[in-house]
Symmetry: C3
């Protein structure tokens, strides 16, 4: 019989950059004991986001961070909105360019991630933040 | 017992920009009476898109609109495709950079949106358009 | 009664660019015989991605390819990561800017795609690649 599981995953980010959350999400999914299903990860914030990317080469992650800092730079002269500081508006832009939500099939009891795929919380604010991901798993 | 609900949401956009649809989507979801589930919003167009963003500061929305107009500008010299006018190809590009689909968990009878998150239809064409979002809700 | 269907779709890409997969995905979905449901497409790679875009004008697809080549260009001086060649890091960036996953409602036995929407595998590597999409369909 089809079942649903939900939880909130609290994540303390140490500052801007890609923070891997694959293991925590895989562990929670495994515990639910679902063989076939669909896992949805939903980021409840507008200044951090989700990204599935290369999990092997740290240089690839650094290039990703540098790239998003370049296409949506901190620059006080560009933005009207700066209530929370100069890193706030670029954070919203970098979040808009990436993902607020990811759904990953569960097959044979495991997330159907490719061999080189890791799940990352992409923190776009400079300072440490307390973040929450809502998880929803459906299956049997 | 798990149930499915579907509808088509018609939206008249007054021109380019971020148009909030949170209340309409929340109301439809609430009426379905689902306690735990997954709501999927699917945009049936290629020149407008979906975005979850900051719902408090109008300046943040203006900066988002300005940003996407800058990274995917109207510029006849850049694009081969202009069958529907100079705002058509940039519209496809801005749609490609944002979302055609969003899935949001339903927990305790409500969409699991963060406090500052609003759901927006991002119209990329200049003139008013008739748009349709397909909604699918699964849960119980 | 709610059912789940899963498969892996193997796709040989001939090189970089947008490769339409709508017919293959529509055919598999139709065979499952689901009237109402949710189809999820998950790309198991980090150097190609998914995009729903205009299916009528080839010029629009060429402009999309040109655009992503321009905003995330090949340029050895920009990137630290080049283990797999100069087209590798731009491929990760173009994948990060588009989609790793798409969920599409099924209504009245068909994918709820808009009239002008096609589903594309966006290959970002230059050489032919063997790619896999994980498909998950839920419904009845």
């Amino acid at each position: 019989m089809m079942q649903q599981h939900t939880t909130s995953l609290d994540i303390e980010t140490p500052g801007s950059g890609l923070h891997e959350v694959t293991a925590r999400i895989r562990d929670w999914t495994a515990k639910a004991g679902v063989q076939t299903g669909l896992l949805t990860i939903f980021c409840q914030h507008t200044s951090c986001s989700l990204l599935i990317q290369e999990n092997a080469a740290p240089a690839a992650r650094r290039d990703l961070e540098t790239y998003f800092a370049r296409i949506a730079p901190e620059d006080a002269t560009r933005y009207e909105h700066d209530d929370e500081g100069p890193d706030d508006m670029p954070a919203h832009l970098r979040a808009a360019l990436t993902q607020v939500q990811l759904s990953i099939p569960v097959m044979e009891g495991s997330l159907a991630l490719g061999r080189w795929q890791g799940i990352y919380l992409f923190e776009h604010r400079r300072r440490p933040q307390a973040r929450t991901l809502a998880l929803h798993l459906l299956g049997k």
